[in-house]
């Protein structure tokens, strides 16, 4: 345990989620916050910390969020626009509670469907104004969006280790199996075959459409508190055991030194150095799947398989419910939509506290691991049931 205070997850919640909800970022944020408070059995007056992570162009600040919810006074607030998706908010919230800066911290990730389309959204000023900053060295070449680093990372892994497109597809197929057991949250309700994956169009070959998460409007909220306060709340608390961020020396995802050993390796190594747990103690994983290769890189970084072996590992079914490490048991963001990292924390919490319903794993896990992002920045955490 890394901090002074043990940090518990005591509430989780989602907003209305949909392709085009017509709801503002503020409304979605308030909905998810209220859902998480209801889940925990707390009110705004119990909360003294708010942490958000946003895309810079879809910004809802922590203090504005607190004002919307009628939280009278914040002991801790933080709004980040840089880094590993929801996990940045989570790790700030953990740090706040562990250090005693906040007794009960609401952590949030709100995203509109168009958020990560990047490209033209980031150009600002219209096309005639041109693109500045680091983007002037990518966008004129047609490198606009996450898909354009993803294809490069996949190709490099395939060339280095002999990974096949079908291996990435096997991961997508396994995720869909989970999604069918999560009809309330999944946007997909039919089984996926490897043939359908292979026949899905390329975005940036070797990247297929079905390697990509599903863009939606969503807000996700989790509430963290101290062990002492957690014991009196509505839900069975689960606890953060260890957590870590990691980065590469290069900021541009397409220019990292080693695409097959990017920031997940740094974050995972750091996290394992802070715990007595090992990968064999972990019974459930929530691994970021903005693109399917990201989850595969995390399988290697976290040590669930050897370096370079994630393709055959996934193809052999090891991420399924009866496999070595059941992964993304809610269906992942490819199926439940882009919650930008928060769904992994929420689903692993539900598995560990026993509220996963039909998705409860045959072997009830005592510990789970969650991860966000890849490339230039990453973060991960271990969560235990007790």
């Amino acid at each position: 345990m890394s901090g002074k205070q043990r940090v518990a997850i005591v509430g989780v919640g989602y907003s209305t989620v949909g392709r085009n909800t017509g709801l503002s970022l503020d409304t979605l944020t308030a909905q998810a916050s209220i859902a998480a408070m209801d889940d925990a059995g707390v009110t705004p007056r119990d909360i003294d910390g708010v942490v958000v992570h946003s895309f810079p162009h879809q910004y809802v600040s922590s203090t504005h969020t607190a004002a919307m919810l009628g939280i009278p006074d914040l002991a801790f607030y933080s709004s980040s626009v840089d880094g590993a998706a929801y996990a940045v908010a989570a790790l700030h919230g953990i740090a706040a509670v562990a250090s005693g800066s906040s007794d009960m911290c609401l952590t949030l990730r709100t995203v509109h469907r168009a958020g990560a389309a990047g490209g033209t959204a980031l150009m600002g000023g219209g096309e005639n104004a041109g693109v500045g900053g680091q983007f002037q060295f990518g966008m004129p070449y047609g490198s606009f969006t996450g898909a354009h680093f993803a294809g490069l990372y996949m190709q490099r892994h395939m060339a280095q280790y002999g990974t096949k497109e079908e291996d990435f597809g096997a991961f997508a197929v396994a995720q869909r199996e989970y999604a069918l057991r999560n009809p309330a949250e999944s946007f997909f309700h039919e089984p996926l075959t490897i043939e359908e994956y292979m026949n899905s169009r390329y975005i940036a070959k070797p990247l297929h459409l079905l390697d990509c998460d599903y863009p939606v409007d969503s807000s996700s909220a989790l509430i963290f508190t101290t062990e002492e306060r957690a014991r009196d709340l509505k839900q069975k608390a689960v606890f953060f055991d260890a957590w870590a961020m990691g980065t590469t020396a290069e900021a541009d995802f397409s220019l990292v030194e080693d695409m097959t050993h990017s920031s997940p390796f740094m974050a995972a190594r750091r996290m394992w150095s802070k715990t007595d747990l090992t990968p064999s103690d972990v019974g459930v994983a929530g691994l970021y799947d903005g693109f399917s290769f990201i989850a595969l890189q995390w399988l290697e970084a976290l040590g669930f398989c050897g370096e370079g072996e994630s393709g055959p590992f996934a193809a052999a079914g090891n991420t399924r419910a009866d496999g070595i490490i059941p992964t993304n048991t809610d269906g992942g963001a490819c199926n439940v939509g882009r919650r930008h990292g928060a769904n992994f924390f929420i689903e692993v919490t539900r598995q560990l506290r026993g509220t996963a319903g039909d998705r409860a794993l045959p072997r009830k896990p005592a510990a789970g691991v969650v991860s966000n992002a890849v490339g230039g920045f990453a973060a991960c955490a271990l969560i235990t049931a007790d």
Binding site: E127, P140, S143, F144, G151, L152, Q155, L255
Partner: protein, 142 residues
């Protein structure tokens, strides 16, 4: 073509830090930011040298030789300019001058089915419009 139907390319917006790169490209010279203190190249340009923290940075001309670190075949246009360009190759090329010195580019004049990581490439030039020229790469001997 009417004014409204014209699709303009995605142009860089150079600033004081980056204009040397585009000025060089216009003259068909590949210039990369180079530290006057330690002699190391870095890309994209930054105000300070990552290696020695010197602010005394200039530009150095490189050979334009390199190898393909990774590549992909773009099959979806994320901007109207690329609608009639797909499929085309986006690549990361590692320049010969320094290990790890890489840039995002296009591979041109290549058989899309034959490109491999590790292929040797040489800079060539794609005139984007009246003002800008992009350094792109073609296979050596291709």
């Amino acid at each position: 073509m009417t004014e409204t139907a014209q699709v303009r390319p995605v142009r860089p917006a150079p600033d004081s830090l980056t204009s040397f790169f585009w000025d060089g490209a216009r003259e068909r010279r590949l210039l990369i930011q180079k530290c006057a203190s330690c002699g190391r190249f870095q890309h994209p340009p930054e105000p300070v040298c990552h290696h020695c923290l010197s602010f005394d940075l200039g530009a150095g001309e490189v050979s334009g030789r390199g190898t393909i670190y990774s590549f992909e075949i773009a099959t979806q246009a994320f901007h109207p300019w690329f609608a009639d360009k797909i499929p085309f190759v986006i690549a990361v090329v590692e320049l010969a001058e320094q290990p790890g010195l890489k840039l995002i580019t296009n591979i041109v004049e290549a058989d899309l089915a034959a490109i491999e990581i590790g292929d040797e490439v040489q800079v060539t030039w794609h005139q984007l419009d009246d003002e800008f020229t992009l350094p792109v790469f073609r296979p050596v001997g291709g």
